[in-house]
């Protein structure tokens, strides 16, 4: 039993970005709320562990993973070094094939172009292929302002959109939701915007998928315009490509009359042959599959076959700023696989919304502050939202040195700090103390006094200046003697332990 409710007037529920943390809240404060959400913690721990294991198996079985990784990094670096040449070739080939190419400097520019294209068709709604780039520019919100409804057709994006929520993962935008929550969202929200969910819907995955299928099918069959992103843009033939798992992308890319694709300029690759590398590394890294289920390619217009009005918007939106930084530009190699999110211990515990951007996790922490700058409290704090454990770099299929980039961006934030910054003063003082061995020795002698003041029963339970440490952790008792003092004493009067050690001839015993 399905019902319909005024499809033509229906608008998608929310603006879509409301659940992302506001840039005025820094990461540590946003994280505190997420850490306290036990449902979120459980959902994320389960989901990331599952994908992590699948990826590890698929990467582990590949005979030449490190070679593919190096090749992927090399291709992307080569593209970035000659981006202008590749982009103009792409533009020419796309135009030769009958596509209209637009250049967008920023989000507002891109949103205006897409809105104008859709408005010119007379359509009041569009179907969307899952696309990080259009999330980045908040296209849905811009279209809504123009009275155009944008329907997400990827299952997880649909869940996010119906739930008036924001994506929290690059590949699995609804990773923070479990099946029970999805069921509730479908029952509560589907009817208002199209085909309703069956009243007896359970949280069985097959039933949830069937409800989404019935809901989406109506959108696919009625939409006259589709909007997509692209995973790759092949310059030599002007070919765009989307890789997806559900077939919703294939529907959007083939059924409507008009197709608008928003592509970040770093997505260009010179030749088809380059795809050989990425079509192996992307599915293994992202979904943990050997091969991607639905891989679509299109170039321009083919009479009587597929969309007859094809537009491509090439988007900068901060990317050339990233390119200008010789260290930071590595982040533009990213193919949006999300492997770094799944292995990140910080992401696993805080979720994606905490990062305040559609690009969460380690890659978000290096990309967002470069794309948006480091002015807001949140963007300033993102490069510090990592223990620098390096798990992200280890799994990155294009070998982005994320920890190194994080440190690079921390330096940028520190360089921008005001002249009289308390933290800077502390570290400057620390450097002064450690400027010579003699000064450090004097400071270490001073810790003997601190020890007598702070220590109770062999451990330090509270240090006035460092509640952020001592709330959850003891501090071990400060040593009576520094290494330096021990060494000096030994040089002077000999080592009480040395004689015993000298008798201990275990090594000789064994040989």
């Amino acid at each position: 039993m399905t019902s319909r409710s005024g499809r033509s007037e229906a608008q998608p529920p929310g603006a879509g970005h409301g659940a992302l943390h506001h840039p005025e809240t820094d990461f540590p404060h946003a994280a505190a709320a997420a850490l306290a959400d036990s449902q979120l913690r459980a959902n994320l721990a389960h989901a990331t562990a599952t994908i992590r294991d699948k990826r590890a198996a698929m990467v582990g079985e590949h005979p030449s993973w490190s070679g593919l990784r190096a090749a992927g990094a090399g291709i992307k670096d080569d593209v970035l070094a000659r981006l202008d040449t590749h982009l103009t070739e792409l533009e020419r080939r796309l135009q030769d094939a009958g596509a209209t190419v637009h250049w967008a400097v920023d989000a507002a520019d891109a949103n205006r172009i897409v809105t104008d294209v859709v408005t010119a068709t007379g359509a009041r709604e569009v179907v969307k292929v899952k696309s990080m780039t259009t999330q980045e520019i908040e296209l849905n919100e811009a279209l809504a302002e123009a009275g155009i409804a944008a329907w997400e057709t990827d299952l997880a994006e649909l869940i996010v959109q119906l739930g008036d929520d924001a994506p929290s993962h690059i590949l699995v935008p609804a990773i923070h939701r479990n099946r029970a929550e999805v069921r509730e969202i479908f029952l509560d929200r589907m009817a208002a915007v199209g085909v309703a969910a069956p009243a007896d819907l359970t949280d069985a995955p097959a039933e949830l998928a069937a409800a989404a299928r019935a809901h989406l099918r109506e959108k696919f069959l009625t939409a006259r315009v589709a909007v997509s992103g692209a995973n790759f843009a092949v310059a030599e033939t002007g070919t765009l490509s989307v890789v997806e798992s559900e077939g919703n992308g294939r529907m959007c890319l083939t059924l409507p009359e008009t197709l608008v694709t928003v592509v970040g300029i770093e997505k260009v690759v010179p030749t088809w042959r380059d795809l050989e590398v990425f079509l192996q590394t992307l599915p293994r890294s992202s979904t943990g599959e050997r091969m991607n289920p639905y891989t679509s390619f299109w170039n321009g217009v083919h009479p009587g076959d597929g969309p007859q009005d094809v537009h491509v918007v090439l988007l900068d939106n901060g990317r050339t700023d990233v390119l200008a930084d010789q260290v930071g530009r590595q982040a533009l190699r990213c193919i949006r696989c999300s492997a770094c999110l799944n292995v990140c211990p910080v992401y696993e515990r805080t979720g994606g919304h905490t990062y305040g951007s559609v690009y969460p996790g380690p890659i978000g922490a290096v990309l967002t502050p470069q794309l948006r700058g480091t002015d807001s409290p949140l963007d300033k704090s993102l490069p510090f939202a990592s223990s620098l454990c390096g798990a992200c770099e280890e799994v990155c299929p294009v070998a982005i040195e994320i920890p190194d980039l994080l440190v690079h961006l921390r330096t940028r934030v520190a360089d921008q700090a005001p002249r009289f910054d308390p933290q800077k003063a502390v570290f400057r003082a620390l450097k002064t103390v450690m400027a010579t061995g003699d000064r450090l020795a004097a400071a270490e002698r001073g810790t003997g006094l601190a020890r007598r003041i702070l220590s109770r029963s062999g451990r330090v339970a509270g240090i006035p200046m460092l509640p952020s440490w001592t709330t959850t952790r003891d501090v071990p008792d400060l040593p009576e003697q520094s290494f330096r003092a021990w060494w000096e004493q030994r040089e002077r009067v000999g080592d009480a332990g040395a004689a015993i050690d000298g008798d201990d001839s275990a090594v000789e015993d064994d040989s």
Partner: protein
């Protein structure tokens, strides 16, 4: 062969048991160890907080202090990792090219303890005895920056009487991360809580790792939980012998190994 110990600033001031034990192990193996006392810190703490120039000043002091030694040995994957894989790049980015070259020269001579023992001295049995159940946490920088692999485990397996228990999710970060532990204290604590849970689940008496910094963090959590598990640096375990179970007199008594039950004598001695 001129060998210098690089105790690290943290090891020197807060965790002297680790460098003292390192000296003892090396001397027991016949290595003559020197401590160039002009050294202080590798600069990593400053680099990772964004103070590149201050960090480089510290790195420059370290380079000067350690000039002329054939080998430099540090009981820290993290600090050795910074010398080998971080500071030279930062020096060049900040336009200090000759310092970058000098750091490269130092990096080629600098080893984390387990690397020096296994690769340079070609020893896995260092003659240690430690009749306790132990679990080992591979610290992120020793594992991912330096790639020490199973060298620490090879060394631990050769210790007499030691029972090594496997740690679940061993390769997951403990949550220390330098100033991360203070700036993102809540996330750091959540990670530390999970690491401590895995450690407790092993039933081991002692958690061993190759970085004093990570041990301060995990040990702080284990201590707050009254878990009864103590933390020791890899060097301390390798320095322990039947005659001298506690390697660092004058160090933190809580870290000292308690009196041991009699252990069987070693073969044929």
């Amino acid at each position: 062969m001129r060998v210098a110990i690089f105790p690290t600033c943290l090891g020197d001031a807060m965790f002297p048991r680790a460098p003292i034990a390192t000296v003892r192990v090396l001397e027991r193996l016949g290595v003559e160890v020197d401590f160039p006392s002009a050294q202080t810190c590798c600069g990593q703490m400053h680099f990772n907080t964004g103070y590149a120039d201050d960090g480089l000043d510290l790195a420059a002091t370290l380079v000067d202090a350690l000039a002329g030694f054939d080998h430099v040995v540090g009981p820290s994957g993290s600090c050795v990792g910074s010398i080998r894989h971080q500071s030279a790049d930062i020096a060049r980015r900040r336009g200090r090219t000759s310092l970058g070259d000098a750091i490269d020269d130092l990096a080629a001579r600098t080893f984390e303890l387990s690397e020096f023992l296994v690769d340079v001295l070609d020893v896995t049995d260092v003659g240690a005895s430690f009749p306790h159940s132990v679990t080992y946490h591979p610290t992120c920088h020793s594992m991912r920056m330096l790639g020490v692999g199973d060298r620490p485990v090879q060394l631990l397996r050769a210790v007499r009487g030691l029972h090594l228990r496997e740690l679940q999710a061993a390769d997951e970060c403990c949550g220390f991360g330098g100033t991360f532990a203070l700036k993102n204290a809540a996330v750091s604590s959540a990670m530390g809580a999970d690491k401590a849970r895995h450690v407790r689940n092993t039933g081991a008496e002692v958690l061993v790792a190759g970085d004093a910094s990570c041990l301060l963090h995990i040990g702080g959590v284990l201590s707050r939980q009254e878990s009864g598990v103590r933390v020791m640096h890899l060097a301390e375990v390798l320095a322990a012998t039947d005659a001298r179970p506690d390697v660092a007199p004058g160090a933190d008594p809580r870290g000292a190994v308690p009196p041991m039950a009699p252990v069987p004598p070693r073969a044929a001695s």
